[in-house]
Symmetry: C2
């Protein structure tokens, strides 16, 4: 049994890669909820949905997010009404949010809904939101305080960030399933998601960091930074703005005390020795999951 701390796209790809070499029934993803939002009255869980759609084989490869075969009837109409249409919700995608929102009103938890959607779509990896309590990632920026989606979507993460906080995290409780999945896993993997805004809001939930500290020899992280840049999203810029090294070294330092091993890309092989001197084992392989060959090689490195 392995457990993967997961953000959105990067984690979804790693989980898909792991399915090439491991029975999905032996995997659990503990998923960030700091990006979750309520918009138009709908509760939206972007990371959970990205993983679910990707693993179900329903991901929209052209867009890089959302569902394939998507249409935009509701959003087009909402735009003509003058509504807030900047956060694009496709018609198929909306059904997910309507379903979740109604189930939550009926008393279900986000964990329940994640399980129900996985069952519906035949996703065998267990997806666990790290908590069923409300956590909101908030950015203090040059433009003032921005919610996650204001920062990420409305401003396309093109705004300088001074600090990041996770509102509600200190009072949130990890679910019992999450604690058990972290304690019982033979290996804990930190996906190549953004350390600062995808993984940190998981680590900030009381109890999670402590388990990793106690089990650091069983924890392996995959660097999301390759050759000084993020494969996707603002991880590179945020690391720089918040005083970290924009390299696997910066990532390793950010996870210091929590991980025994980091997997870095061949492009960064020259950094292996320096990272190793920080007391972290380093594995060098192809971390860019372009094509099934590379994906399988990375998956084997994660599990070896």
């Amino acid at each position: 049994m392995i457990t993967v701390l997961s953000g959105g796209v990067g984690a979804a790809r790693l989980l898909r890669a792991l399915c090439l070499v491991l029975d999905p029934g032996e995997m659990t993803a503990v998923v960030n909820v700091g990006d979750d939002l309520v918009l138009h009255g709908l509760t939206i869980c972007p990371d959970l949905d990205t993983i679910t759609y990707t693993l179900a084989g329903l991901g929209n490869d052209e867009l890089g997010w959302g569902l394939r075969g998507e249409t935009w009837r509701v959003m087009d109409e909402l735009a003509t009404l003058g509504g807030a249409a900047w956060f694009r919700l496709g018609d198929r995608d909306l059904a997910t949010h309507l379903y979740r929102s109604q189930r939550l009103r009926e008393g279900a938890t986000k964990s329940d809904v994640a399980r129900e959607l996985c069952d519906r779509w035949g996703v065998k990896i267990r997806l666990l939101p790290v908590t069923n309590d409300d956590v909101a990632t908030v950015f203090d920026t040059e433009l003032g305080r921005l919610s996650f989606q204001e920062y990420f979507v409305q401003h396309r993460h093109d705004v300088a960030v001074r600090s990041i906080t996770f509102e509600g995290a200190a009072d949130a409780r990890p679910t019992a399933e999450v604690l058990a999945a972290l304690r019982d896993a033979s290996r804990i993997v930190i996906a190549p998601s953004n350390p600062l805004i995808s993984i940190d809001p998981i680590l900030q939930i009381p109890g999670v960091r402590e388990i990793l500290e106690n089990r650091r020899d069983d924890v392996v992280a995959v660097s999301p930074i390759v050759n000084g840049a993020a494969l996707k999203g603002p991880a590179d810029r945020l690391l720089l703005e918040l005083g970290h090294d924009v390299s696997p070294l910066g990532v390793a330092d950010f996870y210091k005390g929590l991980i025994g091993t980091i997997i870095i890309d061949e492009a960064d092989a020259a950094l292996a020795e320096r990272i190793g001197s920080h007391g972290i084992d380093v594995r060098v392989t192809t971390t860019i999951m372009a094509g099934p060959g590379n994906a399988e090689r990375l998956a084997r490195a994660v599990l070896s």
Copy 2:
């Protein structure tokens, strides 16, 4: 200036008919909110929307509800997820509910949203929800307690009703605009909507009934019952089950003390004398708004 107490379809048709003979800028509709519901996290106001869509010329004539040119992508997908798809929300219609729900979260009132949607669609009649407080029409039935939409849509109003209550009505406040529209109108019209479930929840909002009682000579009702039957919906069955006469006489008695005049259909001309003996003026005309000729004749009767 005239003010029309309004439910959904019947009221929408009467308002459209009145536009044939009166400047829409001189009309206000005070609209029932007892059918309103929160479903999938979305705040839905069926009567306000039916009137808005009809007056905007966007009504779906085939269905008799919703928007023309409607598609069902979200609902179809929701059904495959096992979601609650019994309350059919078209893709275009959903945009209205997303818009309203977001605006309410931002602090707007239902009144604000009604005005914004009318502005957007060029509807000149002023539409006022009777209150911005929550009111819920609830049915005590042979199957137990049912919400409005459970009764109306899920059970297709094919279940015996023992009593109807309007939860929240006693504590709700009519808006200042509603009170002014009722006090200042030269005439108050009660649309041919269901007296028991469309008009009564308006009358139950504290202050509304009193204004009508004080102005009863200026109040005219259009009977929704013609020849012993409702033109649409369960008004006939409900009148019977709750001990009223299923005729314009039963309607006139229900509104006793509130109206000075009732307009009944030619099919019920024989009842005019009996109703008149109850101290209510009776006008006989065509109340079925089939075609613009009939609609205009009814409108002139209402205004004369």
